[in-house]
C-alpha cells in the first residue's frame, strides 16, 4: 500500500529497555520527521532527516536515536526507555509539496 506506515501501533515496554519504532514511506520523500504528541504540548519534533544518512535534532531529542540508511525508512530508537517517554509518536514525510503526511501513530507506554 502506498503511503506512510508505522509499526507497531501499540507497545508496552519496561523502564530501561531499548525499543525501536519503525516508519516506512513508499513515496521516496526526501524529508522525514518524528514527532511526539503529549497532552498540553501538542506535536513536538524529536528528530528529522533531509535525506538518507542526514539527520538533525529537533526540539526534544534527548534519549532518542535515529538512523536513515535508506530513503524509505526512518526508525526511532529509545536507547533506555523512561516513563517520561510514554507518548504517542508520529512519523511524517514531505516530498515536493510543502504539506507533511503523517503515519497513524505508535502509542508507547513505558512501565
Amino acid at each position: 500500500d502506498a503511503g506512510i506506515t508505522q509499526s507497531p501501533r501499540y507497545k508496552i515496554t519496561e523502564t530501561g529497555r531499548q525499543v525501536t519504532l519503525m516508519c516506512h514511506q513508499t513515496w521516496s520523500h526526501s524529508y522525514m520527521f518524528w514527532y511526539r504528541q503529549d497532552l498540553g504540548h501538542g506535536l513536538r519534533l524529536i528528530y528529522y532527516s533531509a535525506a538518507a544518512d542526514i539527520t538533525d535534532k529537533g526540539e526534544v531529542p534527548d534519549g532518542y536515536v535515529v538512523s536513515r540508511s535508506k530513503t524509505e525508512n526512518f526508525p526511532l530508537t529509545l536507547e533506555s526507555a523512561t516513563r517520561s517517554q510514554t507518548s504517542v509518536y508520529f512519523c511524517a514525510s514531505i516530498g515536493g509539496k510543502t504539506e507533511a503526511f503523517f503515519g497513524q501513530g505508535t502509542r508507547l507506554t513505558v512501565v
Partner: protein
C-alpha cells in the same frame, strides 16, 4: 519560547454556525502556513494551507486567513458540522525547516 501559539485549548460551536480557530506566530521567516486536523487514534491529516504571499485561501467550507503584520493565522469553518469535531493544529514552515506546530485546539461541534 513557543514560536506557534494556539491560545484556545478548546472551542464549542453549534452545528451550522461558524467555527473560528486562531493561531499566532513569532518567526517572520515562516513562509508557509498549514492547518491539520486530528481525530483520536489517527495521525494528523492535512486540511488547508496558505503561502505567506497571500492573505486568504479557500477550500469548500474551510478558509484560512493570514495577517502578516499581526503574525496571526485563522481558520474559518462554515457551516460547522458534527464531523468537524477534532483537534486542529496550526503549523508553520520556513524554507526547508521542519513544520513547527501549535499545541492544538479541540473543536466540538454540537448538534
Amino acid at each position: 519560547d513557543q514560536q506557534v501559539k494556539q491560545n484556545s485549548p478548546s472551542l464549542s460551536v453549534q452545528e451550522g454556525r461558524i467555527s473560528i480557530l486562531n493561531c499566532d506566530y513569532t518567526n517572520s521567516m515562516f513562509d508557509y502556513f498549514l492547518w491539520y486536523k486530528k481525530y483520536p487514534a489517527e495521525g494528523p491529516t492535512f486540511l488547508i494551507s496558505i503561502s505567506s504571499i497571500k492573505d486568504k485561501n479557500e477550500d469548500g467550507r474551510f478558509t484560512v486567513f493570514l495577517n502578516k503584520s499581526a503574525k496571526h493565522l485563522s481558520l474559518h469553518i462554515v457551516p460547522s458540522q458534527p464531523g468537524d469535531s477534532a483537534v486542529y493544529f496550526c503549523a508553520e514552515r520556513g524554507g526547508n525547516t521542519p513544520l513547527v506546530f501549535g499545541k492544538g485546539t479541540r473543536l466540538s461541534v454540537i448538534a
